[in-house]
Amino acid sequence: MKLVVNERRCKGCNMCTKVCPYGIFQEGKRPGSRGYIIPVLDHPERCTNCRLQKLYGRQLCGMCQMICPDQAISWIDEKPFEPQKVVIEY
């Protein structure tokens, strides 16, 4: 699964940057198509839900999606699936 931010919905409030345990959402610098500063994703493949949703068959974590007041965060299927090496620093 791949984490995506919908630029048509995001208003750049940065609430997502407050909740991700991996700090995947970082304050952005450049405006998106509607003029809002969209957050940038730092190695989104570390996201629990990206890695394990398929395995567990349900949504995991999801804090960023729940707090996003503009319903801009979702996950899409990656096809064909490419295995990725993920390094998680503790």
Partner: protein, 264 residues
Amino acid sequence: MNLEDWYRQDRLPHIYCAGCGNGTILNCTLRAVEELDYKKEETTFISGIGCSSRAAGYTSSDSLHTTHGRALAFATGLKLVKPRQHVIVFTGDGDCSAIGGNHFIHACRRNIDITVICMNNNIYGMTGGQGSPCTPYGAISTTTPYGMQEQPFDLCKVAEAAGANYVARWTSFHVKELTEAIRVGLETPGLSFIEVMTQCPTSFGSKNKMRQVTQMLDMFRDNAVLKAKADRDAAKGILPSPEKFVVGQFVRRNNPPLGVEAAK
């Protein structure tokens, strides 16, 4: 139905300002409804007037956007006519406690079987940030430029004293706990009242030294005291500091509700 189907897609993106907590509360409510597997036809969202009250218009099921302060009166009517319907009310602090204060007290007293979600942003957001009965002491609003000189309502205590079967308070930062509280509220017969402390960055944060949305979230995280901790402190005689507020479940009881179909 999955979560995304509960949003009225043709109305998104919604009109809320960037970082307005109302969108988060809408997420939590729809997630709870989705978890309980409610049917669209059996669910109705009802609201009064205010930014908070616009939330009902962003759901894909039937909704009623009624008059200022009167959502609970409409909800009572609907529930009595259609007792099988799941009735969920979105209201604001002004809508619920100022113009709608009397409806609020009596809906709790009647213990009508509905779930009320009050988005408390401490002011009248929609009309430009005037003070409401929930503006904290000392806070700046457009009608209290030198700081609020009145004491605010504790809406949860009002609901509890008036007779609601379920009462809880969370914030727009505590998304998991809030979703859980709404789910429990929906499952509890009788009136369930969930107060959500939320941010209005446009009219409240900007005037009260929290210009960034994230500063308001930090404030909720730092000032929310869990009920168990507040009870322990009270037992030890420690007085709560004025900027703190208690979060958690305050009551869950089984008083006879109104508007529930009699068991046959």
